[in-house]
């Protein structure tokens, strides 16, 4: 004989459900109760699924340390960004001797100045080396192939922007080497037919290396390109997460037992 459900009790007679985090002795466990700062923020922004999507994704078998070169390049960029922001607190883009003097002040007088400037200067080379190693890894592993072509294209733009950072940053110490390297670099760029002469006028802000060339390079170096790099790194990372990373070329596809039979049915 089927049992009939019990008639619903009125609300006041129902036993109270246990509150989250209530461990019986009157104290509340904040983690269990979901009342930590992180929970408070996440309840309003709802970012944790996205973070979980980004960080706890599946990766193919056989990946190795070469796969960390992209992250290494990104951390080199973050290091450049942080040290660059603090160098900007002392640097003066003044072509009439002020730039060189401010660099001399950072290097010789400012507390930890030589260290932070050294991080920025050597970090620049580290970033260039890492980005080339990363590109080599992607190229030799064939990781640029379908469906990851757009990731590759964005990566190439990031490479060009990184080289442009190196070019614009080289002028800023404004010593003899910076000055003549920039003259040569701008003139190389001017040898492009038709548009080259106007492009070098744009870079120099005039027909000769002038009063605003240095500030122009400084603005490109610390505002224009870093913003573009940050945005493109975001797109690059999104695509990596969305498409997954590729297996190393020496890993063969292993068919799960049963898959083939199922397909035949």
């Amino acid at each position: 004989m089927p049992k009939l459900p019990a008639p619903p009790l009125p609300k006041v007679l129902l036993p109270k459900p246990k509150r989250p985090g209530d461990n019986g002795n009157g104290a509340v466990d904040p983690v269990e109760a979901g009342i930590t700062v992180v929970d408070w923020v996440d309840e309003r922004m709802g970012l944790s699924p996205g973070i979980r999507w980004m960080l706890f994704r599946k990766v193919p078998r056989g990946i190795n340390w070469a796969y960390t070169l992209g992250s290494a390049t990104m951390f080199a960029f973050l290091s450049q960004a942080v040290t660059g922001v603090f160098l900007a607190m002392y640097y003066r883009p003044d072509a009439n001797g002020g730039a060189y003097e401010s660099i001399r002040y950072i290097t010789d007088d400012a507390f930890l100045g030589q260290f932070v400037r050294g991080m920025h200067k050597w970090g620049a080379s580290v970033m260039i080396i890492l980005i080339f190693l990363h590109m080599g890894r992607v190229f030799f592993f064939g990781a640029y192939k379908y469906p990851r072509e757009l990731t590759w294209i964005i990566g190439v733009v990031l490479l060009i922007l990184t080289l442009a950072m190196g070019f614009t940053g080289y002028l800023l110490p404004f010593d003899q080497r910076s000055y003549w390297a920039t003259i040569v670099g701008v003139n190389i760029n001017g040898t492009g037919p038709f548009i080259g002469p106007y492009l070098s006028d744009f870079l120099r802000a005039g027909p000769e290396f002038g009063a605003t060339t240095l500030s122009r390079f400084y603005a490109i170096h610390m505002l224009l390109i870093p913003g573009a790099i940050a945005a493109l790194i975001g797109a690059h990372l999104y695509l990596i997460t969305k498409l997954g990373i590729s297996a190393p070329p020496w890993i063969k596809v292993e068919e799960e037992p049963g898959v083939a039979e199922k397909a035949e049915v």
């Binding site: 003259i183 040569v184 038709f194 002469p197 006028d201 027909p207 000769e208």
Partner: protein, 207 residues
Amino acid sequence: MPGAFEGETVTRRRLMGLTVHTAGGITAAAFTLPALGFALGPLFSREPFDWQPIGQPSDFPNNTYTTKVITIVQGIGSAGKTIAYVRARNPSIDTEHEDQYNHFIALSSRCMHLGCPVRFVAAAQRFICPCHGGVYDFRGMVSGGPPVRPLDRFYTRVRNGLVEIGPRYSVNSELQRFSPRDPGEPLDGIGQYLYPKRFSTSVLPKD
């Protein structure tokens, strides 16, 4: 999407959408275009110049060069200075047409390969560039290395008994004058069309 009544081609929703997009586009253009123009402005503003006196005519013999430091950009100290190598015109070697601007020959020290500073080596009667080995003869014509055209020159004139130096100009291998180009841009043959004149360089006033 059907309209509110028969025959309506643009619905109210679509009209509102178009209006919002147009307003957004105008707003974005209102700050992007002036900023872009501001950044590109220097391409179209002509650089002023002045004639700088550099000495008496007797200071400049015609068989060797005298080094003069001149200012090409005001207000940035030594970064705005450059070196000109100056000598009197020597009719036995200077075969180009003589006019009021070349009684004195003033060569720019900018190497025409990529813009490093050349120096005059009196013993060799040559200009030599330290960067990539460009060599120029006594008249500034290319005699070896990577430079693509002879050394640039400056207009010179004599006023009130003083030699004055004016704007720079470029020359091709026949010493024809062109408005100043950047180093690395050849002016022979097709080069003069591949590397057109710029709007920013100083021009000589017609006087």
